[in-house]
């Protein structure tokens, strides 16, 4: 019997968090992860590397969505932390730390640096925050490029990974990426399920109202900000491991934001599953059209605009609207005593929990 | 013959209200908080879209006409809470409304004549005015549109009694000038004193309508609180 903490309400309604569908998806997800673990044994290094790229994109999309979709913070400067993670790894390995450990530490350092940054940046809202973060990214980029030991502006490679034979390097990188992705996704998932999730959505929907209800707005945002920074930092470090060579202009470049924006808009802003879908779509587009030069970006931008205007909830959001599909139980579902699903779903996308306790057909 | 005829379908706050106001009439809209009066006024002014029904102004269907165009046609609203432009001076608040003025009696000077207290404050920013002065400015601003129909939403709210008296004095001038007035008013006695007809709303529906002088106080209170009639409205959700 599927049952976890359903509260009994008057009138025979009860609140359920796990629907049959979401349990099914949960199991499927675990199976998928298990499968992914053995991928390096089944396929060649090339495939592994491609999958690593995909997973890095997933991390980035989920992080950006956490900020924008749940926190209402549109950052045009997450590349600041991506760059920090990548260059942090270089720095740490130059000082003798083994590469894979350095990557994790670099990611965490990015999160730590995000803390004081947030003290300034979170004073801003909306577009001011967006550009402010962009400036922060530029500053970090300039500061790094001024350090010649980090390659100046011309780029530097990650050397410490030479110790691993090529096939193994890809595999290790992949597993680390998989682990990080799973962890970060799990973290975001947990954040949303707990109080902080609901308060964040309240903030996103109406900041002043939320504040008047006692939601500690700034603290909720700060948590998100730091987590997103650490996530992007790790993604940057993993990107370095995957490609082995980085340059300040590109790793601190704003095209990262363009990618994240695209993935999240197309996938579904504010949904849990959306960014994952968006990352997959983007990955496919990237592999197919990535070499088409400027028109490719024009297309990306155009599609992003179209989605923002006409399909603001992204593909997943549209599916969700129609079918009330929620694969992973981030919200609440209201059930009448007798009725089987589907019932009215309160959800993580910002729709208020149902107040009308009507019978559903 | 100027008349508005408003019929609404299931608006959240207003349900199936049907209202006909004749030219030159002064109609008081009364009802408890949340009865839907403000929504109704805003819908007539065009700031709110009804989910069903239509609004006919002087023979023309204006249901789809955007707000600013309705002003040109002669409908002006004095919004709840006055909603003056805080950074603009009194004079600017007035003249900005007169920008698309449909030619007519009211000019900045004449409005200031009507509300002498504003004369010395005319260059002051609206945010620095007292409640009564703000209300006067808000009404004056609506007058600058030279409306044939003026809608007033809770003009006595938050004002000292003397200010309220002043406001209603100026209303008499309006009424005698032939302008059609629909006003929402919490203060029952004031409302009944200035209106020719009264409509009472409860929970978004019309529960009473009639000539002000013919209605008894008991009837009005009963309708206001919903103790009128067989349906026990009571204290449900």
């Amino acid at each position: 019997m599927i049952h976890t903490r359903s509260a009994q309400l008057a009138g025979g309604f009860h609140v359920q968090r796990w629907t049959r569908l979401s349990v099914g998806s949960g199991v499927a997800t675990l199976a998928l992860i298990a499968f992914l673990v053995i991928v390096p044994f089944l396929f060649g290094a090339d495939v592994t590397q491609q999958l690593t790229t995909l997973l890095i994109l997933v991390i980035l999309a989920v992080m950006w969505n956490a900020l924008a979709g749940y926190g209402g913070l549109i950052s045009v400067g997450q590349q600041a932390f991506i760059g920090l993670g990548a260059y942090g790894t270089i720095f740490l390995t130059q000082h003798g730390i083994t590469p894979y450990l350095a990557m994790i530490v670099a990611g965490l350092i990015a999160g730590v640096i995000a803390l004081p940054t947030s003290l300034i940046m979170l004073r801003l809202r909306g577009g001011q925050f967006a550009i402010g973060m962009w400036v922060v990214a530029e500053v970090f980029g300039i500061l790094v490029s001024l350090d010649s030991s980090l390659g100046g502006g011309t780029g530097i490679s990650l050397n410490g990974l030479d110790q691993y034979a090529p096939g193994y390097r890809q595999a290790y990188t992949f597993w680390l990426t998989l682990a990080c992705a799973t962890l970060l996704l799990g973290l975001v998932f947990l954040l949303l399920r707990r109080r902080i999730g609901a308060s964040l959505q309240a903030v996103r929907d109406d900041e002043d109202a939320a504040a008047s209800l006692g939601v500690n707005v700034v603290r909720s945002k700060r948590v998100l900000f730091v987590v997103a920074a650490a996530g992007c930092g790790i993604a940057g470090a993993l990107y370095l491991a995957n490609t082995l060579f980085i340059q300040t202009p590109s790793v601190f470049g704003v095209q990262w934001t363009a990618y994240m924006l695209f993935m999240v808009l197309v996938g579904g802003l504010g949904t849990f599953e959306g960014p994952i879908l968006g990352a997959i779509i983007f990955y496919l587009i990237q592999t197919q059209f990535g070499d088409s030069g400027a028109w490719y970006f024009v297309g990306l931008g155009g599609v992003a605009i179209a989605f923002a205007l006409f399909l603001p909830n992204g593909i997943w959001g549209a599916i969700d609207r129609r079918l009330h599909l929620r694969l992973l139980p981030v919200g609440y579902t209201l059930r009448t005593a007798a009725a089987p699903p589907p019932a009215v779903a309160g959800d993580a996308a910002g729709k208020p929990p149902p107040l009308a306790m009507e019978d559903q057909p | 013959m100027r008349s508005i005829d408003a019929q609404f379908g299931l608006l959240k706050a207003v349900r199936r209200v049907s209202l006909t106001v004749e030219a030159g009439e002064t109609r008081a809209l009364i009802g408890a908080n949340g009865a839907g009066k403000t929504t109704l006024l805003r819908t007539i002014a065009g700031a709110h879209r009804p989910t069903g029904g239509s609004i006919v102004f002087d023979g023309t269907d204006v249901t789809r006409v955007p707000v600013h165009r309705r002003v040109e046609m002669g409908i002006a609203l004095v919004p709840e809470g006055r909603r003056l432009f805080p950074g603009l001076s009194v004079e600017e608040n007035l003249s900005v409304a007169g920008g698309h003025r449909r030619g007519g009696y009211w000019t900045v000077e004449r409005v200031l004549e009507l509300f002498p207290i504003l004369q010395e404050r005319r260059r002051h920013r609206a945010a620095t005015l007292s409640g009564g002065e703000q209300q006067a400015t808000a009404i004056g601003r609506a007058l600058m549109c030279n409306p044939r129909l003026i809608l007033l939403d809770e003009v006595s709210l938050g004002l000292a009694p003397r200010a309220v008296a002043g406001v209603y004095e100026s209303l008499r001038t309006l009424v005698s000038g032939g302008t059609t007035v629909v006003l929402v008013e919490q203060d029952l006695s004031r409302a009944l004193s200035v209106a020719s007809r009264v409509t009472c709303l409860l929970h978004g529906e019309v529960v009473l309508e009639g000539v002000a002088s013919e209605l008894t106080r008991e009837q009005v209170i009963a309708a206001y609180f919903g103790t009128y009639g067989a349906t026990a409205v009571g204290a449900t959700s």
């Binding site: 209402g72 045009v76 | 002006a76």
Partner: protein
Amino acid sequence: MTWINVLLQGVLLGGFYALLACGLSLMFGVMRIINLAHGDIAVVGAYLVWVIVNQTSISPFLAALIVLPVMWIAGYAMYVLLLERSRRAGQLVPLLTTFGLAIVIENVLLQVFSPDVHSLGSTAGGLATASATFGGVSISALGSLTFGTAVIVLAALQLFLSRTNAGREMRATAQDPDAAQLVGINARAVYARATAIAVAIAALGGIFLAIRSTFDPSTGPTQLIFAFEAVVIGGFGSPWGTLLGGVVLGVAQVVGEQINPQYAILFGHLVFLAVLASPRGGILARRAGEA
């Protein structure tokens, strides 16, 4: 270079930044929209003038007379086609669409014009390099012209907002769009007008950019950042605040450059962040653009 010269150069540079910032500030003040494509629009202005000058060999200032009205109309189009829907869709949507627009503009320029760097300096008839010297202090002609233009534009904007009916309507709509409609103001027309003005001024800034230095398809974002920094430093309130912000930014950059050429832009960023971090910075975000 003496410090007076440095300061002066910074001030004149500030005029340029103020000009760039003007449109950005206007759009934010009236519509609460931060146009992330602002810098790229300036670059479009530069390219249009460049094309005309290349084809006809007339002075860039004359070419500007053709380009500015074109950009004005483009501004109207941008509002009607893109921004109106974005505005209605939510607070954050304009950020997403203007960012998308920025990407589109940059890459279309890249495709059409190639990544080559260009400049209009040589076509400005010696203006770009001319300077006058008064007792050891050297003032560049172009810098002065730019600064002067900025002051005129800002003053004109201030007059427009405070003295004309259209300007009053714009202020009213900025403060309370709902109430503005209720007194007969066509908010949509006001917003479109504001966008048109902002775009045209941005294009003017781009033209000056092209004359004073180089430009290429990717120059846009940097200009956006400078414009934004100028507005934040000076405060989102009045046009004169924008001028002040521009000047502070310009001086910071020039001072940084004296210390080390690589530090120029960085110093500007640091001053910006310092202003944000200061107690004043907390007020900035709350300030409504009350022009």
